[in-house]
Amino acid sequence: MSHSERRLVILGVAASDSHAVANHLIAHALRGLGFEVENLGTCTPVEEFAQACEQYPDAEAVIIGSLNGHVHEDLRDLPAAREAGRITCPVIVGGNLSVGSKKDPRDLERLKALGVDRILQDPAQLLPALDELRASRTADRQRLPVAS
């Protein structure tokens, strides 16, 4: 990071999912890049992500891993949490996002429909994605007063 500002992300694995390894490694890697990582670990329901957002209002993203194929059911409460204004920052999802070894792109559409902002394959895409999301939010904020 080329700036000294604090950058915090909320990290976790979806509610029914106990796959821990990628979560451990991603937390390590983001910390290595200078992020503060609030890692909620495995088996984290949307409710717990929402609570963390309330606790860390300056979190720049919620990053959710899901490996076991249950991401759709596990994020079922995400639209409600968003509507209620409990999760306002972008939500990034990555991992193995459907059941089965042949993947249907419609399953990613279903995720978008639940209010997921970014779907990533590779943890290496996280930093550029976070930078981009932050840049566009900053731009939005700067543009808004001009427009209003």
Binding site: S16, S18, A29, G32, T42, K103
Partner: protein, 471 residues
């Protein structure tokens, strides 16, 4: 398929009230005319072959029956599996039921509790092989009751091994108590003449689990199970990928059983084919599948749980599962009698494994109450596993592959190891890869390489610690 609007037991919520009494289920099982899993394991061991079993589970009921029938017709595994979905594992029965009704294909396993025991019996009756429930439930009491009522004679799990890898916030005291209840029912069933095979999940978090950790935890669970009345215990061990280490670990299982378990308990060694990051290319995945099966044979395992060439991608389709079973069964070939492990090295490795296990379990077993001692030891890091999903293990130990690929301890954390064991481990790691870079960075890249051991071995990916390729 008719939608399910109830759960077994009292209306609206899961339970066992509606289940038949144990004795009825025991009679039902006898009437099935199929061997129990315990019998199949015994026969396999007597015949000197490794029984073969797939992982398999889909949400829908008809789909589940079709899957099992197809696997049986095409690959004739010795034991078949009902893999349970991960909502049910965590007692998220409501979510399981909702997925089942809306989109059963979205489930990563068969929600047996939601389907209920009558359907469980239907599934059971659709094939001739006995069934095992494979899951990952910190508290499996409801699932177990439905399984027994379904006439299923093998049930995987344990109070440690189905907690720490499978949940975040279930206290160990709770899961140990829940599994003690399951084991006690197995004891009752044994009294009624039915031996339930109880497989312990020595695989744990599957990634870089040192053999002595896997076996130590199985020993503790086995001791508890035997005390509760269990009479047939399958100790499963996850293939590390290093032949000598794996053969030694499998052969350590009967040795440990003789030391720590009463003689009336029948103990089987079971190999779980490589449970970590699988290679992606079909041929490489198949190399690994066959290799695992050969290791099971050389290690004298009674049973092998197979993988498929689709492992890296997702839950396999039926055909891939069939092919995985068939390929693994080739290692049972009478033509391979000539294939041997290096017996001297196996014996040496075995004695170290048994010593490490003793170092870990004996302080716990020396305490007056084993369950409490287990809880305390995990809290203090004297028992530990790497990559815990749960808060209730410290994950302080750091595993590392040595130059040959065997899994050693880079850090033994707070494990009560003696100097001799510690020195042995660091000696073994002397030849291992390591960058000259900063310690933390190199630790992480080294770890990543070890996690990706097989994809790297097959050159599907580059090692992070080898910036310049030798080729």
């Amino acid at each position: 398929m008719t939608k399910i609007s109830y759960l077994p037991g009292h209306s609206g919520s899961p339970g066992t009230d509606a289940l038949p009494p144990l004795a009825e289920s025991v009679d039902y099982i006898a009437s099935l005319g199929k061997p129990t899993a315990a019998r199949v394991l015994m026969d396999a061991r007597d015949a000197g072959r490794v029984a073969i079993q797939p992982r398999c589970g889909v949400g829908g009921h008809e789909e589940m029956k079709a899957l099992l029938r197809e696997l049986e017709n095409q690959a004739a595994p010795d034991i078949l599996t009902l893999t349970i979905d991960s909502h049910t594992r965590l007692k998220r029965f409501e979510q399981a039921l909702r997925s089942l009704n809306r989109a059963p294909a979205d489930l990563n396993g068969y929600p047996l509790v939601s389907h209920g025991y009558l359907r469980g019996r239907e599934v059971n009756e659709s094939v001739t092989a006995p069934l095992e429930i494979r899951h990952g439930s910190p508290d499996a009491r409801i699932l177990f009751d439905v399984a027994v009522a379904s006439g299923i004679t093998s049930f995987e799990g344990g109070g440690i091994s189905y907690n720490l890898p499978y949940s975040k916030a279930v206290p160990l005291a709770e899961s140990l108590a829940a599994w003690n209840a399951v084991d006690a029912v197995c004891g009752e069933l044994a009294g009624l003449g039915l031996i339930v095979d109880r497989e312990l999940f020595g695989t744990l978090t599957a990634v870089l689990v040192p053999p002595s950790i896997s076996l130590a935890i199985s020993v503790l669970e086995a001791v508890l199970a035997a005390r509760a009345g269990v009479r047939c215990i399958s100790v499963s061990y996850p293939q590390s990928g290093h032949l000598v280490q794996d053969v030694a670990a499998l052969r350590a299982i009967p040795v440990l059983a003789r030391t720590y378990l009463p003689p009336e308990v029948d103990v089987h060694a079971v190999l779980h084919e490589f449970m970590g990051v699988f290679p992606k290319k079909r041929g490489n995945a198949e190399d690994l599948i066959f290799y695992g099966a050969l290791v099971a044979r050389l290690g004298g395992a009674s049973k092998l749980i197979t993988k498929t060439y689709q492992e890296a991608f997702g839950i396999p389709d039926t055909r891939a599962n069939v092919e995985g079973l068939r390929l693994a069964d080739r290692a049972n070939s009478p033509l391979l009698d000539f294939v041997k492990a290096d017996e001297e090295r196996v014996a040496d490795e075995l004695s170290w494994i048994v010593d490490e296990v003793a170092d870990i379990v004996e302080p716990v077993l020396a305490a007056p109450d084993t369950m409490t001692a287990v809880v305390d030891a995990f809290a203090a890091g004297r028992l530990d596993i790497p990559f815990s999903a749960s808060r209730y293990a410290k994950s302080e130990i750091i595993p590392k592959r040595d130059a040959e690929g065997a899994i050693r301890y880079l850090s033994t954390g707070s494990l009560p190891f003696g100097d001799r064991t510690r020195r042995h481990n660091s000696d073994l790691l002397k030849g291992a890869d390591s960058t000259g870079g900063p310690v933390i960075g190199s630790l992480l890249t080294g770890l990543t390489d070890d996690i990706n051991y097989f994809p790297a071995l097959f050159r599907e990916i580059r090692k992070e610690t080898q910036e310049e390729d030798a080729e």
